[in-house]
């Protein structure tokens, strides 16, 4: 399994969710990631839809290299509270 650069994942999300604030951390080796995405585009959307937006941004990287991605999605208001 090839390793994925957290910065590359971050760039992919930013390319698709323009106003996003993205934080990516590696844990347990190089193929497990923890990612927090904050974006106003999540407003009014259920979690499943938000996660799908991020998965779509990651594209093939999600299926191939990232065995496990722990994902949190928040709107700016939720992040502030």
């Amino acid at each position: 399994m090839s390793s994925v650069n957290p910065e590359a994942l971050k760039a992919l999300v930013l390319a698709h969710i323009k106003d996003a604030e993205v934080e990516v951390r590696c844990y347990s080796g190089d193929d497990h990631f923890e990612m927090t995405v904050i974006s106003s585009q999540f407003e009014g959307k259920p979690r499943i839809v938000r996660h799908k937006m991020v998965y779509a941004a990651l594209g093939d990287n999600m299926r191939q290299a990232v065995h496990a991605l722990a994902l949190k999605t928040k709107t700016p208001e939720e992040a502030a509270s």
């Binding site: 979690r47 499943i48 996660h51 799908k52 496990a68 722990a70 949190k72």
Partner: protein, 112 residues
């Protein structure tokens, strides 16, 4: 992807109020994320059915297509896709999951 697998998945989801597609079994989970969701459901005190996707590659891939969701575990409640480990964990922490599962708790229905 054969349609019959999709039909089988639809059928088993329809027939089980709380259904977890997971790697391994609740007694012996084969993945930390599946283990976490099992632990949460056990903590919630609700009975749930589990399908070990490792036993059948067609189901393992089929459920990803069915839910349009790339990862396992996947939790269904009353036929509705709730989410994977992250979403279930968040809902568990903020109390949303307890509300959702309240009708299925043995003995203290409605308490949430």
């Amino acid at each position: 992807m054969s349609d019959s697998v999709q039909e089988q998945i639809a059928e088993v989801i329809k027939n089980n109020d709380i259904l977890l597609f997971m790697k391994g079994t609740p007694q012996m989970p084969q993945c930390g994320f599946s283990q976490r969701v099992c632990a949460i459901l056990q903590e919630q005190g609700v009975p749930f059915a589990a399908i070990n996707v490792l036993l059948d590659p067609a189901v393992r891939e089929g459920i990803k297509v069915f839910s349009d969701w790339p990862t396992i575990p996947q939790l269904y409640v009353k036929g509705e896709f709730i989410g994977g480990c992250d979403i279930v964990s968040e809902m568990h922490e903020d109390g949303e999951l307890a509300t959702l599962l309240a009708p299925f708790k043995a003995g203290d229905a409605g308490k949430a």
